[in-house]
């Protein structure tokens, strides 16, 4: 409560000084700088899906019974993704779909499904990755980066998964399969 009256007192004190300045000449000039900052940010648009469910991945009859079916490419959109600063890139880290039971596999079987994933469009050279797990599911996730986008950029990004294959086209072990993809939009490592 006490400080408030003191502000009023200050205002009253200034007023006579301002009146004095205005009356000094016909015109007067002052410069006022307005400043602000814009933080560098990147935002990925809200993905249309966060889980990509391929359903049953094998042929249940016919000459390829038990082997991987022809799986249509899947797409996920991230509309209005942007970075408001220069030299940015898209980075993909992805691992194969691996059967989660973890039991060893016999010859002729696989517990991994590899695929290709890309996120476009962002830069001249787009981020594109092919997973490469072995039949037993081993193999670290891979990482792929786009080239550097030299300007602030806004883009309707599309992630596409395609080319689903089993190592050596082996029979697939029964079970639930899953893989993780991490898409990052951020500063280019070329900086």
């Amino acid at each position: 409560m006490k400080p408030i009256p003191s502000i009023l007192a200050l205002a009253l004190l200034l007023s006579p000084a301002q009146l004095l300045a205005q009356s000094a000449g016909e015109s007067d000039e002052g410069e006022v700088q307005v400043i602000g900052t814009v933080t560098p940010i990147c935002v990925l648009g809200e993905p249309s899906d966060s889980i990509i469910d391929l359903g049953t991945m094998i042929d249940l009859s016919g000459p390829r019974v038990g082997r991987i079916a022809s799986i249509a490419p899947r797409t996920v959109t991230m509309p209005n993704s942007f970075c408001n600063y220069s030299n940015t890139m898209i980075s993909i880290n992805a691992g194969a779909l691996v059967e989660q039971g973890g039991a060893p596999v016999n010859t002729g079987f696989s517990r991994a499904v590899n695929y290709s994933v890309s996120v476009t469009p962002w830069a001249t050279s787009e981020a594109q990755l092919q997973t490469s797990a072995a039949a037993d599911g081993s193999g670290a996730p891979g990482t792929a980066n786009s080239s550097s986008q030299p300007l602030p950029q806004i883009s309707n990004l599309t992630m596409e998964l395609s080319g689903f294959t089993a190592p050596s086209d082996a029979l697939l072990v029964a079970g639930d399969y899953s893989g993780l993809i991490v898409v990052t939009l951020g500063p280019s490592i070329e900086d």
Binding site: A9, L10, M78
Partner: protein, 190 residues
């Protein structure tokens, strides 16, 4: 005057700062990540493969020794291979077989004769112990064998140990066709 003014403004700035910092951390920074899960399923599935030749028929030819009328002791037929059999999960293999029965002879066979021939059918290659079924036995505990892992390979089906139903002292009745059936079943087990 002045000290009072400053003391008013500073607390306000301090009060605002945490709020601003929080908003920046939670909403946007110089990079942004999204996690995606790719999932799919493979159902348990078995396929027994395709018999390799002659349509899956064991043709045993003439069953009896034509001089004595007793069942031949050297009955033999080549094994059948079921190639490309597989199960995508744990599995069991089982064999069932029926005795070879005279197809045209009607009624009970006369004394000293038999209208059926027993044998042992086996399926090997899938399990350590082959699954086998004796058509003359009352029980066949070895007819079903289990395998703990998904497997693919050839299954060999064989017939052996032919014997006259009712005993070796009986003679098979004359008939154009003795017929028995062997069924090999692969089952996925969860």
């Amino acid at each position: 005057m002045k000290p009072n003014l400053i003391s008013l403004l500073i607390p306000a700035a301090v009060a605002f700062a945490p709020g601003v910092a929080l908003a920046q951390d939670g909403e946007a920074s110089s990079s942004d990540s999204e996690n995606f899960q790719v999932i799919g399923t493979v159902p348990a599935l078995c396929s027994v493969g395709i018999p390799d030749n002659s349509g899956g028929v064991f043709d045993m030819g003439v069953l009896v020794d034509t001089t004595t009328g007793f069942l031949r002791t050297d009955l033999f037929a080549p094994d059948k291979t079921l190639s490309g059999a597989f199960c995508s999960s744990r599995s069991t293999i089982s064999v069932e077989a029926s005795a070879m029965q005279a197809q045209n002879f009607a009624g009970a066979p006369p004394s000293g004769f038999s209208s059926a021939v027993n044998y042992v059918a086996s399926a090997s290659g899938w399990t350590t112990t082959p699954a086998s079924f004796n058509t003359g036995a009352t029980t066949n505990p070895g007819a079903t064998q289990g395998r703990d892992s998904a497997f693919t390979g050839d299954i060999t089906v064989g017939v052996s140990n032919f014997s006259t139903a009712g005993g070796a002292t009986l003679r098979p009745v004359a008939d154009d066709q003795y017929f028995g059936e062997i069924t090999v079943t692969l089952s996925a087990s969860e």
